[in-house]
């Protein structure tokens, strides 16, 4: 429930009491807001008094008479000026001249209510004002939240790029000053580390570009009829060298071609991330089994590894941007923590999702489901 504070400023006591009475038990439903909006009315018999009250705490809505003894309504508006932008001003007046109306509007008046008005007219005007206020408030909250998320994202990106740059910078300084002695093998190893860190940075930048493409929805999807098994095979070929280097066996289990409509690049991103994780977070001489199946118009991709596993309490975090689990087994594995968040976002755009079951020390199984024809429009 929400209560909006209404200040009615009029020199006629009857008018103030009338407004108070009309609004006392009145509430409105605002679309997109849970619950009702009520009004709490305060009264001021002069602009001077209103100014005092506004200075203490500005109301959400000000019902303001134009003609007042002493300071006029317009003068009051000019006095409060831009200080109280949150206050929505509704002018009430018997004979508002065009000139006065223009001046009031210039000072930010939102609406006019001609005297005399019925309680129903007052309620309609306030209903509209309340909707305007609440929606504006929500838009502001949303904009702030968006900003916060964006800044947080940028600061993480900056931090993630700084780490490899610091490492490379460190190596270059040592090489430039020849500070590591005379063994050329040591310098060769440094060069190799620099290249590894640069490759990591490049991968992260590519992931970032994938992410922004998916999220902005700007990329034009190239939908084609393809065989999901064939894409799986391509991804597994890509991972083969790093798997072989650690004696890890890769096997694809698929009975027959599995036709689906998809963007090949996007499907490759999904497979590549799952398979590369299954290799990266595996033990030496482990296994990776990839299953591709089709049931009832859905493709199910399962990637099962015999690796380090994931603790139950960490499972829910994995699919967020930049999440990497830090522990003894993962500390020398490079990555930016974007892979699974990309997989999840893509799966959702294909009308599906991703889930994981895992046993620490034994292995993990990631399952992605996708619609075979995700973007088909019913004929």
């Amino acid at each position: 429930m929400d209560t909006l504070r209404v200040l009615v400023c009029d020199d006629e006591t009857g008018m103030r009491i009338g407004v108070e009475r009309a609004l006392r038990h009145y509430s409105v439903q605002v679309p997109d807001v849970n619950g009702e909006v009520h009004f709490a009315v305060e009264q001021a018999e002069s602009a001077e008094r209103a100014l005092e009250l506004i200075d203490v705490s500005p109301p959400e809505i000000l019902l303001l008479d134009l003609k007042l003894p002493g300071m006029s309504g317009i003068d009051l508006l000019e006095r409060i000026g831009p200080r109280h932008l949150e206050t929505l001003v509704i002018m009430i007046s018997a004979y508002a001249s065009i000139d006065a109306a223009v001046r009031a509007t210039k000072q930010g008046a939102y609406d006019f209510l001609a005297k005399p008005f019925t309680p129903a007219e007052l309620k309609d005007t306030l209903k509209e004002a309340a909707e305007h206020l609440i929606l504006a408030r929500q838009a502001k909250k949303l904009a702030l939240e968006k900003r916060r998320v964006r800044f947080e994202f940028i600061s993480v990106v900056a931090h993630e790029l700084k780490a490899p740059i610091n490492a490379i910078d460190g190596y270059l300084k040592i090489m430039a000053t020849h500070a590591a002695g005379d063994d050329p093998a040591v310098y060769a190893r440094m060069t190799e580390r620099c290249m590894t860190r640069i490759a990591g940075m490049r991968k992260m930048i590519e992931d970032l570009l994938d992410l922004t493409r998916i999220e902005s929805g700007q990329k034009v999807r190239e939908l084609v009829e393809l065989d999901a098994c064939e894409v799986a095979r391509t991804a597994m070929d890509t991972a083969l060298p790093s798997a072989q280097a650690r004696g890890i066996a890769l096997e694809l289990h698929a009975a027959a071609p599995i036709p689906m409509t998809a963007d090949r690049g996007e499907l490759e991103i999904i497979f590549n991330n799952l398979v590369s994780n299954a290799v990266k977070y595996n033990r030496d001489n482990g296994r990776v089994d990839v299953f591709v199946e089709e049931t009832a118009g859905r493709v199910r991709i399962t990637v099962k590894d015999t690796g380090i596993g994931i603790r139950q309490e960490d499972v829910s975090k994995l699919f967020n941007d930049f999440v990497r689990l830090k522990n003894e087994e993962t500390k020398n594995v490079l990555g930016s923590g974007l892979g699974l968040s990309i997989v999840k976002k893509l799966a959702v755009t294909y009308g599906g999702g991703v889930s994981v079951t895992s046993e620490p020390g034994t292995g993990s199984t990631f399952t992605v489901t996708l619609n075979c024809a995700p973007f088909a429009t019913p004929a």
């Binding site: 910078d169 460190g170 590591a180 440094m190 003894e328 500390k331």
Partner: protein, 131 residues
């Protein structure tokens, strides 16, 4: 170097930082043992007595460096400890081993913020090993 080479235990979970400091320290005549985690560091400390320890504050756990530092000082108060930290500016935490009270709590002899300049590290090592 005429005397026997001094042994430095270097603890950090950043593989590149370990490698960089190690080769530079070796080039100026130290013997260097590296540990990539708190657990590894504790194993080394249990089985040997390094002449000096350089440890990163934040490893898998936020305060792994403290545990290492504490273990070293409990074993032998006279082993100097240099703590490196990226905490300042990284997490917004203010952190400095200035006051005696803080120094007693942190237990490290010197606190260096990352990125560590090797010249500075070397100066601190020379100073601590001379005293």
């Amino acid at each position: 170097m005429t005397e026997q080479a001094k042994t430095i235990l270097l603890v950090d979970d950043d593989e590149d930082f370990l490698f960089q400091q190690k080769v530079q320290l070796e080039a100026i005549g130290f013997r260097v043992i590296t540990a990539g985690s708190k657990a590894e560091a504790l194993r080394v400390i249990a089985g040997s007595r390094p002449d000096l320890v350089i440890v990163d504050l934040m490893m898998e756990e936020m305060d792994a460096g403290f545990t290492v530092c504490h273990t070293v000082k409990t074993k032998d108060e006279s082993i100097p400890v240099i703590m490196c930290t990226g905490v300042v500016g990284e997490t917004g935490l203010e952190f400095d081993a200035v006051t005696d009270e803080e120094q007693a709590w942190v237990k490290a002899d010197v606190l260096l913020s990352k990125p560590v300049r090797f010249e500075q590290l070397k100066r601190e090592i020379d100073r601590l090993l001379a005293s």
